[in-house]
Amino acid sequence: MFNQDIVKPENLVYKRTEVLTDNVMHYCPGCGHGTTHRIIAEVIEEMGIQDKAICVAPVGCSVLAYNYFEVDSLGAAHGRAPALATAIQRLNPDKHTFTYQGDGDLAAIGTAETIHACNRGENIVIIFINNGIYGMTGGQMAPTTLVGMKTATTPYGRNVELNGYPLQITELLAQLPGTYLVTRQSVHTAAAVRKTKKAIRQAFENQKNKKGTSFVEVVSNCNSGWKMPATKANEWMVENMFAKYPIGDIKVDGELVQK
């Protein structure tokens, strides 16, 4: 059967959302960024808020996120995305401003901006990709790098005496009264993707209802930085990253989830 015989409207079961551009993504095969981008774009399309969505891209692997989202965007300086989003959303209370940030951006250089935006309860959505490493700059230690994990700047493994402890910033942010939704998800299986999409949808719905800050962490892999094949990286992530960064809701509707 030739391709043109099957590509017909009546056979359409899946199509790429128009909230993504045609640009070929630069992300490594197997990385979670592409999937996370897609589900954010799908949520924006399904909610009909493309004209109201404003993306604030970070510095790091997703520095070019604005090339993929077909929404008006701004590229922030390293770590400053929550400050930009604060102003954009306050100046445009009916828009949907969201930041998309990695662990170095959000939990190291941008810690102050992150904590204070969340503490003020800015009505923004923060999507936080945690892969425990600086991918873009070549695999250096991140604030979320696990103890013992080898990186370009911890070649003998992260040593707590030298490097301190992995930062569970998501648990920390959940303690702040300004956060309304704090959840940790992943995108390594179909089931996980569905749950993450549901969480991201909830985050944008909260924003629509002006509930304050909604924070969605996505624990992801970095197969190139971790120096593993993609499938092995996912296995390693489940075994090691999930032990330190357990998947699930931490705060829902402004209330901490009891564990």
Partner: protein, 362 residues
């Protein structure tokens, strides 16, 4: 336009001008000697009058990035600070310049270096006019000398910032920020409607309508050939500013033997020194700079062929004097005088410096 007479501090005049000029948002962090800007705004509650947003940020780093966010969506946004805070903002300023975003940043300069002092200074001239942050860029720099100019330059700042898509710095000092003077304020200029914003800032990321592709506000261009082209465009813009936007006030310059070149508080002190000199029979003029970038190179070059010497008067160890020398190309003697570290020179000191360094020079 109806004019209303008020008595205000320079810092309060900045805040009053923000509200009355249709500013959409002010983001700041307290620092002496400019804290009255945000205090006045918070007391006036402009969000109830004009819908203007006022927010106290967690740092100057954050406030300048809030300005970047607001400017990127086409709003009229501003911040203010004093020297150490402005140093923290240098990252944001180079990003604003790189992404070609309009905004107003007020620096009420105090003495440095480091934490320095809280008294007036003009030692941030290099930082304001030579970049300050990384990369080849220019801020448009306005130097008010009165409380009235603190007010007026906010209105002028919006015009320049949006005309050239470039950040504007109002380079003031602790004296002008703190002094109370009378000033005339005008009617409230309404904030832009959404339609006006789309017309005045069509490039902004205000939310993608269905009839166009998405907008991207960024200073990143990884392809160095494109980055060089972007730099060419920026440089052309700066040259256009030098061609069209130079502003200064030439006082008694036409038949002067000697010229004081000064801006801000120093220009006012130089004016008194000029009067003292007149009593002694000296023919002194003042070139008061209003734009520090673009710098009045042509006017200084012209004067340098006519006078016996120029004294650059500034509250610094000698910063602006370098630009005066470059513009004059050593066609006449050019010297510097200024107190610094928070000390303000007296008119007598300035006149004595002119006599010693230029008039009695062998």
């Amino acid at each position: 336009m109806a004019k209303e007479l008020k008595l205000m501090k320079g810092n309060e005049a900045i805040a009053e001008a923000a509200i009355r000029s249709g500013c959409d948002g002010y983001f700041g962090y307290p620092i002496t000697p400019q804290s009255e800007v945000m205090e006045h705004l918070m007391a006036e509650k402009p969000w109830e009058k004009t819908g203007m947003v006022v927010l106290q940020a967690e740092s100057e780093t954050s406030s300048i990035n809030m300005v970047y966010g607001g400017a990127g969506v086409g709003k009229k946004v501003m911040t203010s600070s004093s020297s150490p805070g402005i140093s923290l903002m240098q990252e944001g300023l180079t990003y604003l310049a790189g992404a070609e975003l309009p905004a107003i940043v007020v620096n009420v300069v105090r003495g440095g270096p480091g934490l320095g002092t809280i008294q007036p200074s003009q030692a941030d001239y290099f930082q304001a006019t030579k970049g300050g942050g990384h990369g080849d860029y220019q801020l448009f720099v306005l130097a008010p000398a009165t409380v009235q100019e603190m007010y007026d330059f906010v209105f002028l700042g919006w015009e320049i910032a949006f005309k050239y898509r470039n950040p504007v710095m109002i380079l003031s000092d602790g004296a002008i920020g703190q002094v109370m003077e009378k000033l005339y304020v005008g009617d409230y200029v309404p904030r832009w409607t959404d339609e006006e914003l789309r017309k005045n800032a069509p490039w902004a990321s205000f939310g993608k309508p269905t009839d166009r592709k998405h907008h991207i506000i960024t200073s990143l261009e990884l392809d160095s050939a494109k980055q060089e082209l972007h730099n060419h465009k920026l440089q052309a813009k700066y040259r256009e500013m030098e061609e069209k936007e130079v502003r200064f006030e030439a006082i008694n310059c036409d038949d002067a033997d000697y010229i004081f070149v000064a801006y801000g508080s120093s220009a006012r002190i130089a004016e008194k020194a000029m009067q003292l000199g007149k009593e002694k029979g000296y023919k002194i003029g003042i070139l008061r700079l209003i734009t520090l970038f673009p710098f009045p190179k042509k006017k200084i070059a012209e004067l340098s062929t006519k006078v016996k010497g120029m004294l650059a008067v500034e509250m610094s160890a000698g910063q602006m004097v370098e630009d005066v020398r470059l513009a004059a190309e050593f066609r006449c003697p050019i010297e510097h005088y200024g107190r610094y570290g928070g000390i303000i020179h007296t008119p007598q000191e300035v006149l004595e410096a002119l006599e010693e360094k230029i008039i009695k020079r062998k």
